[in-house]
């Protein structure tokens, strides 16, 4: 079987706004590097081949050669304009990864990526997705299920049990990509890269609007002078602030503090 890794050729030197990266400063993000390393580690324990894919112009083959030098077995470049819609890119990638039992991606690319390609891939393949992983524990048996931790909004975490085919996207901090050996680096420059011309249309998605909180009515400040109005808005001079001095034993004091915080609405 195949483990597919999708990597994107980007300017890693910073927020340079360019559709075609300067080859000298281009590579693949730490997140994509981590994805490749996880795939290589799993493949070391199983008999899977690691197929690395990128979508982009000829220059993008540099990242495929880099991946080959680090141990990937096969490389495919989808010949496509880098500014194409994520859904089109995902569909083209899926078309080139038949039989993939796992797809690894970086959580999002360096060039203002939104991380949407992995979810489009999961939708295309109709398999599970585990995106934005911050920690993984690989099992001894490469085919067994394993746990991973996913980042949620507001600093929360979600633990997932991953079994069966899935698209996984990982953060760059999860693992460090191995260094290529000298011999592999030299041979990778001569290895064949399969080139596939992109096909597929844009996937129609429901129109979404950004979340906007409901407006809160605020009364106009009262006061004759600007200073009074500012004071009214900022509330700086009123003595509404909470404060109370108590003298008590520590345990009693702690209870009082908690009660007061609850009363004032700082604690539920």
């Amino acid at each position: 079987m195949t483990i597919a890794v999708c990597i994107k050729w980007v300017n890693y030197s910073g927020p340079v706004e360019s559709d075609t990266p300067d080859e000298r400063f281009a590579g693949f993000s730490f997140a994509d590097q981590a994805a490749l390393e996880w795939a290589l580690r799993i493949a070391e324990k199983s008999a899977d081949e690691v197929l690395v894919l990128t979508a982009g112009p000829v220059g993008a083959e540099a990242v495929l050669r880099d991946a080959l030098s680090r141990g990937a077995h096969r490389a495919v470049r989808i010949d496509i304009d880098l500014t194409s819609d994520s859904s089109v890119i995902a569909r083209s990638l899926v078309g080139a990864m038949s039989q993939a039992r796992m797809v690894w991606c970086g959580d999002y690319s360096n060039d203002r990526g939104s991380g949407s390609v992995p979810s489009f891939i999961a939708a295309e393949l109709n398999i599970d997705q585990a995106l934005g992983l911050v920690a993984l524990e690989l099992p001894e048996n490469a085919n067994a299920s394993f746990t991973a931790v996913r980042r949620l909004d507001g600093g929360r975490r979600e633990q997932l049990l991953i079994s069966g085919p899935a698209v996984l996207s990982v953060e760059g901090s999860t693992i460090r990509l191995r260094r290529a050996s000298l011999k592999n680096t030299m041979s990778a420059s001569k290895q064949e890269i399969q080139v596939i011309t992109a096909t597929g249309d844009r996937v129609e998605t429901p129109a979404l609007r950004p979340y906007r909180p409901r407006p809160r009515v605020t009364l106009a400040p009262i006061g004759l002078t600007a200073l009074e109005r500012v004071k009214h808005i900022t509330d700086t001079s009123s003595s509404k602030g909470h404060g109370e001095t108590v003298h008590a034993e520590p345990s009693v004091a702690a209870t009082l503090i908690l009660e007061s915080l609850r009363k004032w609405g700082y604690l539920p």
Binding site: R24, R179, A180, S181, L182, N184, T185, M186
Partner: protein, 433 residues
């Protein structure tokens, strides 16, 4: 069988030219560079004299990533407040076959290395060579690198790893390395609009200016430079290492002081620093040159101290390109003759001796020392500018003094003895040929 015929270490100008020459003669060449791409770790002042490329890359000027063609060369002598400027302009230098050009090293070195790749060399970046491999008889037979499984064997190794070459030192070719032979080059790249640069320096289109400066280094022995790129200018100083450390001055403060000089400030005003960089220069020329050949090993460019730093001339890239090219050719010829011993590789040093590479160094042997000497550095700028100031100052109703009197008085004021002046003039005359 070895992994390669020739390993070239370092894809600077010397390394890439060595690789081009060797690959063109049909050899299996591996060019190893520690930076992520050729030129990424390299800096210099800013002017290349690329005519030597005529031999290697005909019509190089059509594809080389040049910023501006130098059509004005100035030499400035700065005292604390005054400046004497000798300026030469030739618009003919702005047309083929050209003379000097400003270029960014990450562009130029990368372009040159791509010529080596086009000639058939394998370029391996992000790989640091950590040592030399030797066979049972002690002959160099390859290199070790910092990559896993990183040893690579070859018939000849050409070390083009720049100033402070660890490979040449490891091969025992620098038995008495001495910090006194090196200067520290420090440079700020200032961003200015093309239009402002054109106006301030009196050039247009892609015409450029090269200004070499004596004085203006805050009392530390050395010199300064200003070069124009399309929309940046390079301002820098070259400082004698031992003096810099003895005087406990910071190089960035010295550049700041130079930029405040009344003759320099109007040229650099409003420029935003977009890059600050520093690098050593092998300054002492012939005095410090090592043996350049060992069994299975050649060294070229700055690694062999071939940079020419002789006051009004700061040329290293052309010396590196030429020596690299000759090293590549000699290594290839030695392999063809199935003899890569030091004796067989000696054709390399013969070639250096026959050409400008060592002939210029021999001719100018005394100049680096003279230019960096305390007298030339600390007394001559005030003396020269003092003489000129008085020649052009009109003190009516006092009549003009004779030039001989001015020279005598200013010489005494600067504390230079007549015998010293004569001696330095003779050394200079002899040295500059």
């Amino acid at each position: 069988m070895t992994d390669a015929d020739i390993i070239v270490v370092g894809a600077g100008p010397a390394g890439s030219c060595a690789a081009i020459a060797a690959a063109r003669s049909g050899k299996r060449v591996v060019l190893i560079e520690r930076g992520p791409f050729p030129g990424s770790k390299n800096m210099y002042g800013g002017v290349i004299y690329p005519r030597i490329l005529d031999e290697l890359i005909p019509q190089w000027f059509e594809t080389a990533p040049i910023q501006r063609w130098v059509i004005r060369r100035s030499t400035m002598v700065l005292s604390d407040t005054g400046a004497l400027n000798i300026d030469y302009r030739s618009n003919a230098w702005g047309q083929a076959p050209y003379n000097g050009a400003t270029a960014y090293r990450p562009d130029f070195d990368n372009w040159l290395a791509q010529q080596a790749v086009a000639a058939g060399a394998d370029l391996i970046c992000s790989t640091t060579v950590t040592g030399l491999l030797r066979d049972d008889q002690g002959r160099v037979c390859g290199v070790s690198t910092d990559r896993p499984d990183g040893d690579l064997t070859a018939s000849v190794v050409i070390a083009c790893d720049g100033v402070n070459s660890f490979l040449a030192k490891q091969a025992g070719l620098y038995p008495n390395a001495n910090a006194d032979n090196y200067t520290l080059g420090v440079k700020e790249t200032l961003s200015l609009s093309k239009h402002i640069i054109d106006e301030r320096f009196g050039v247009r289109d892609n015409q450029g200016v090269d200004i070499e400066i004596l004085g203006g280094t805050s009392g530390v022995n050395g010199g300064g430079f200003i070069y124009t790129n399309l929309d940046t200018i390079a301002v820098g100083v070259v400082l004698k290492l031992s003096k810099l450390s003895a005087q406990k001055k910071r190089p960035e403060d010295i550049i700041a002081e130079l930029k405040r000089h009344p003759a320099i400030a109007p040229l650099v005003e409003g420029g935003e620093v977009v890059e600050y960089s520093a690098h050593l220069i092998p300054e002492a020329g012939l005095e410090m040159m090592p043996k350049m050949v060992a069994d299975g090993l050649l060294i070229a460019g700055d690694a062999a101290a071939l940079c020419l730093a002789a006051g009004i001339w700061l040329e290293g890239v052309n010396f590196a390109m030429a020596s690299g090219m000759y090293a590549g050719q000699s290594a290839s010829a030695a392999i063809d003759a199935s003899n890569v011993s030091a004796a067989s590789l000696k054709s390399y040093t013969n070639r250096l001796n026959e050409t400008f590479v060592l002939q210029d160094h021999k001719k100018l042997r005394k100049i680096p020392h003279l230019v960096l000497s305390d007298r030339v550095q600390h007394r001559y700028p005030a003396f020269v500018t003092g003489v000129v100031e008085r020649m052009f100052r009109v003190d009516n109703p006092t009549p003009k003094p004779g030039v001989r009197r001015i020279v005598r008085e200013e010489r005494k004021k600067a504390g230079i003895k007549l015998s010293e002046l004569v001696r330095d003039a003779l050394t200079g005359l002899k040295g500059f040929g």
